[in-house]
């Protein structure tokens, strides 16, 4: 199953080329790729994509898709009927809007706040720099969930229960985001440039917006994407603080739909697909940047 082009490159005809063929840019094992590598990767891809596909199958056929034997694995034409039922059962448009609003707000503001803090930690020396950064790192390892009860008490004493700011405001502080932006600031923003601008009389605010931020904008964009995804998908905290259905995010709406599972499976499956679709569309366009962003982050961390 090895592709013919694989064998045509240097090993087979080494002498015909006067100049050596350019080395492949990607690093890895030299030589052709055995067929079983593709087989296993394709299997992994099928496993990755199948549950989403299956959601769509059930959502487009209707509940009878799951009761037929053998199970039906190809889509039907009822998607809009099922979608309509989802909209009739829960205020799904409102939920989509709430999710989009909350996720976008947090993604944008927190990317900027994290870039600012990352800039300070990477490029400005100040007393307490290291200790404060260590605190940021330590907060990454303690899950916020274990203190949900006091968090709820605080939110309720602020009068924020059943409001969207109960999700937005606490979500703006991201230790991971600061860590991420600091790594990018210290590797991509050159000290010479900062120093030169200092000599020209720039203050640190100008340094940040004029020099540092433009350089790290791609990294901030990827951070924004990751934040958007995780806020969109967050469940526990919105589930605790939101009470009225018109304020629910899509994930909480899914719980309502899932409660009807014994009556109509297609409803929850359709809702799940519709809740994932916006992210899938975004991912289709910027997925490559997300992949390389995650891989970059790992390498630097």
């Amino acid at each position: 199953m090895s592709h013919p082009i694989d064998q045509a490159i240097p090993e087979v005809l080494p002498t015909r080329n006067v100049k050596p063929t350019p080395r492949p840019k990607r690093r890895g094992k030299p030589g052709g790729v055995p067929w079983y590598v593709y087989l296993m990767l394709i299997l992994a891809v099928i496993v990755s994509v199948f549950p989403l596909y299956f959601m769509f199958v059930v959502a487009s056929v209707g509940a009878q898709a799951v009761t037929s034997l053998p199970p039906r694995l190809y889509p039907g034409f009822n998607f809009f009927t099922v979608a309509q039922k989802v909209f009739d059962t829960v205020p799904f448009w409102a939920s989509l809007f709430n999710s989009a609003f909350v996720s976008l707000t947090i993604a944008i503001i927190s990317a900027i706040l994290c870039a600012m803090a990352g800039f300070a930690f990477a490029k400005l020396k100040f007393p307490g720099n290291n200790v404060l950064f260590l605190i940021v790192l330590l907060t990454m390892t303690v899950p916020a969930q274990l203190s949900v009860i006091p968090q709820y008490l605080i939110i309720s004493s602020l009068g924020w229960v059943d409001t969207l700011q109960a999700i937005i405001v606490p979500g703006l502080a991201s230790a991971f985001g600061i860590f991420w932006m600091r790594q990018h600031m210290s590797t991509t923003v050159s000290d010479e440039l900062i120093q030169a601008a200092r000599i020209d009389g720039a203050n640190s605010w100008q340094l940040f917006w004029g020099i540092a931020f433009p350089v790290v904008r791609p990294a901030a964009f990827v951070l924004g994407l990751i934040t958007f995804t995780s806020v969109w998908n967050d469940f526990m905290w919105p589930f605790i603080v939101l009470k009225s259905p018109e304020l629910f995010t899509v994930q909480i709406a899914l719980k309502q739909l899932q409660a009807n599972r014994s009556i109509d499976v297609a409803l929850a499956m359709g809702g799940s697909f519709m809740a994932t679709l916006p992210l899938l569309i975004v991912f289709f366009f910027v997925g490559r940047r997300m992949v390389s962003g995650i891989m970059d982050g790992a390498f630097k961390g």
């Binding site: 590598v37 990755s48 300070a120 400005l124 100040f126 390892t141 008490l153 120093q195 809740a275």
Partner: protein, 322 residues
Amino acid sequence: MSTATAPSRRTERPARKDPANTTIRIRNSLTERIAPYAYIAPFFIIFLIFGLFPLLFTFYVSLFSWNPIGEQTFIGLANFERLFQDPRFWNAFVNTFGIFLLSTIPQLLLALGLAHLLNHARLKWANFFRMALLVPYITSVAATAIVFAQIFDKNFGLINWFLGLFGLPHINFLATNVSSWFLISAMVMWRWFGYNTLLYLAGLQSLPREVFEAASVDGASGWQQFRYITLPALRPIIVFTVIMSTIGGLQIFTEPLLVAPESGITCGAGRQCQTLALFLYEQGFGQFEFGYGSAIGVVLFVIVVVVSLINFFLSTRTRKAR
């Protein structure tokens, strides 16, 4: 990141000959000294109010019999005494660790293997594979729980249909603790294996090609290369992913809540798949026992600290041993 970025310290010493330094000294005003703190202030203010304070407050509340609408009575460590004698707590504890082990170990091994495959130099469609592996990561836990509940359904699930083809009896995955661990772990694994694959792949790609070439020349087998080059080089990333999986594992909440909608917040009449996070929620927001719920939070915190310390010592010790 040398002193070049720290004009404030430098310019305090006399350096009159250099005109550039005078400019810096003018700029080095009070506002410029405060500026760094202003940049990090938003994080720390929000973190203090919604992160650190609730954490400390958890310890405080755990010492009370605290009803949100009733009264608050100081009861010392009574919540903890009760907790350690509560079979529901130990059930949730065992479930959480069972799910953690079942999901993390196979997942990270699978991710290592896949990263190894993806690292082939002439792999075609490499970007397609990487993106496809990240699709589960963008799917929400709630959606994952819903679709997996269907795939593992006791009557019409694909898994049971498949088992039936071989004449095997249907499995009700939610019937017992261990079988429900498999179901929950399958969801966790599915959502994270691709992400971890990409992290390992990034680690593999940071290794210089020449190391492997030299090893081949010296006659090292593929396995030996993996064992003595790849694995040690990936150790920091492996430690990182293990810590992340542990912390993630302690937070498993949505999967057991949504997989069995009819059984509610206990995840089955016998609490077959109730995790610690779900038990905390049940006590706090189902029973309104804020004190008892906070005691569970304190135990979770202690587990996080212990696990982090173990990981820390393991990683520093192995580093020294090398």
